[in-house]
């Protein structure tokens, strides 16, 4: 239950007035199994991957992390309800591209994905030069149908990663606890 202590400590230092039920809400949603049970867009293997990505994107530091705020479920819900059908298709294909990379790199089954392996893969995919980063966003805005086979799979991979990243960030930075943290940092 170190998560509960982390949240309690942070709330205490910030002097925040978040209700007990809110904290319990956070804690209830912190069980990994629960995430898989209630996901609507991603299946069990996929949701576990999303959970790992959320953890790598927004790990806990002295301030709560993405998993503490149950962002896996949030990302799942956003993909299910906010994305267009076309984008949803692209996300699923992009996820497969990522898993393909995983299988190639680690010679393991998709179900064996972990935070550590995700970290290694993300380092390869996302820790790139500024120029390459600009190219990625250009690719994402280009007309998909006119792309080469190689560029198509690259586009799908990054569609998946940037979408999960953006929804994770959105869920995190617009959450009650984080907005209040931000305010207290300002003052």
């Amino acid at each position: 239950m170190d998560r509960r202590i982390a949240i309690k400590n942070i709330l205490a230092t910030l002097g925040l007035t978040v209700s007990t039920s809110t904290i319990i809400g956070f804690l209830e949603s912190c069980s990994d199994n629960k995430v898989a049970e209630v996901s609507v867009f991603f299946d069990k293997t996929e949701i576990y991957l999303i959970d790992c990505l959320v953890d790598v994107f927004l790990p806990r530091t002295s301030i709560v992390g993405g998993k503490d705020l149950n962002l896996t479920q949030f990302v799942d819900k956003m993909c299910a309800n906010v994305l267009t059908i076309q984008k949803q298709k692209e996300i699923k294909l992009g996820l497969n591209e990522f898993l393909k990379k995983f299988e190639q790199k680690f010679n393991k089954e998709a179900s064996e994905v972990s935070v550590d392996t995700c970290e290694i893969l993300l380092d390869i995919c996302l820790n790139i030069s500024k120029e390459k980063e600009v190219e990625v966003f250009k690719l994402l805005e280009s007309d998909y149908s006119s792309l080469s086979k190689h560029s198509k799979s690259k586009c799908l991979l990054y569609r998946f990663l940037t979408t999960v990243r953006e929804f994770s960030f959105l869920g995190y930075f617009t959450s009650e606890i984080i907005i209040k943290t931000e305010k207290s940092l300002l003052s």
Binding site: T61, V82, E176
Partner: protein, 568 residues
Amino acid sequence: MIVSSLNKKYDAIVIGTGISGGWAAKELCEKGLKTLVLERGRMVKHVEDYPTANKDIWEFEYRGKASNNEIQRQKKQNRTGFVTSKITKHWFVDDLKHPYNETKRFDWIRGYHLGGKSITWGRQALRMSDLDFEANKKEGVGVDWPIRYADIADWYTKVEKFIGVCGENLGLSHLPDGYFSPPMELNPVEKYFRSEISKHYKNRYLTIGRFANLTGDANHLGRANCINRNRCMRGCPLGAYFSSNSSTLPAAERTGNMTLRTNSIVYEIVYDDYSKKATGVKIIDAITKEKVEYSANVIFCCASAIATTSILLQSKSDRFPNGLGNDSGELGHNLMDHHFRVGATGTTNKFKDKDYIGNRPASFHIPRFRNLEENNKSKFLRGYSFQGSASRTDWRRAIKELSYGGAIKDDLLKQGSWRVGMTGFGECLPYHENKMTLDYKNTDEWGLPTITFDADFKENEIQMRKDIKQEAIKMLTLAGFENVKGYDDVASFYPGHAIHEMGTARMGHDPKTSVLNKYNQIHAVPNVYVTDGACMTSSGNQNPSLTYMALTARAVDHAVNQMKSKTI
């Protein structure tokens, strides 16, 4: 088609309760006229019916983003990119229920409810000037405005006093001073930009925008000063910005002279050839679909430019086979809007010691500086102004990045460097061929004809846009901002997008070339006044609603005098 006729006759009927209709209702009622106010949409009670006003972002499902299913019902409203979020979507129409047709793309953004777009407007309240009123005549474009600034100046003042506009007087003839409460404050970077602009240019100024938000110590009944929450579009429980719901409609109600009927779609103005006047209006109840006719001595059309024109076009009679007052054939033509979303952005690493809370509900304004003199050298006629702001970036600065991890996460909780951005608001010329017409084959669920748009921006606007972008880049660069980037959002370069649609029943001197006279009366039907955006003879570059309000107040004054002297 059975139309039940109600015996009660009113002194006046107002169609629409938005920015112009609210003003017509208040002025008519305060002058003692028994006034029937008809609104096609639902009731919206001030304070009670602002469902999202006090919600925080985390309380909205999907953090405020509209779901894919919801978007399907507001596809055209969604072209704006912001109005259909869960925070404000209830103020904008369901496009499936209220369809229209596009020979050319037109973004018709509407709010069908009590108060109309007065609830969601951006509150920029700028006067037009003689530079605008004289331009058509001088340049031989369209027709001459039948009024000049002196005809409307006092009415602007009357409106500003009542609605409450904060801002700074600059003493410019092309952006006349107004009756303002204390301005909101520019932040340090905007102040710096202001001083840089003044250093580099003789005829360019940066000022805080003129906004219909209450500041200072004037007393506005039932309303409080703005506390800078920047949630105005949701409806303000304090009544701290001007809307019909917080201001004009309560004033009309206080007189005891107003009868308000919501869910009442006006579809025809009834014309009597014997008296050469309109006798009343026909409505369909939006819910029961019952048809009712109401009569009155004078009718104010304030349903917003397109809707008003549609009602006039539907009002056919032997005398007016092409729509009420359409002797000139101009009804539905000369459709205008402003064009915007073109400008530049920049950043600065200075001022890091200055925090920015970011809730000020106002932007800065750079008044028009192009073609102020007659011997202008631009490649285009008229001009544009800029609206913009500077703020410190938040976590969203990382959206277009691939960064991640604990250090990034913690860093994004802190304010980023300052960013400044501005967009031009450009004038659009009145082109006869830019028009709306009625389609009787495709009717809506009430059996009424739908509207077809056939309009686009042309060479003058395209040339102006190039200049807007260039000048924005130049000003930011001269001021020493870094990473200066111009932008031109061509995906939004379509009429309607600026939500300033206007011009389809223009004012003019000559009944052969215009629909309305200098008091907003239909030339041939003097007891019908049109005072919403339909009346505009040219668009200026200023956000137009203050002008609609001033023209409405002036027209009511005229109507009441005419009624007293039994001229109408």
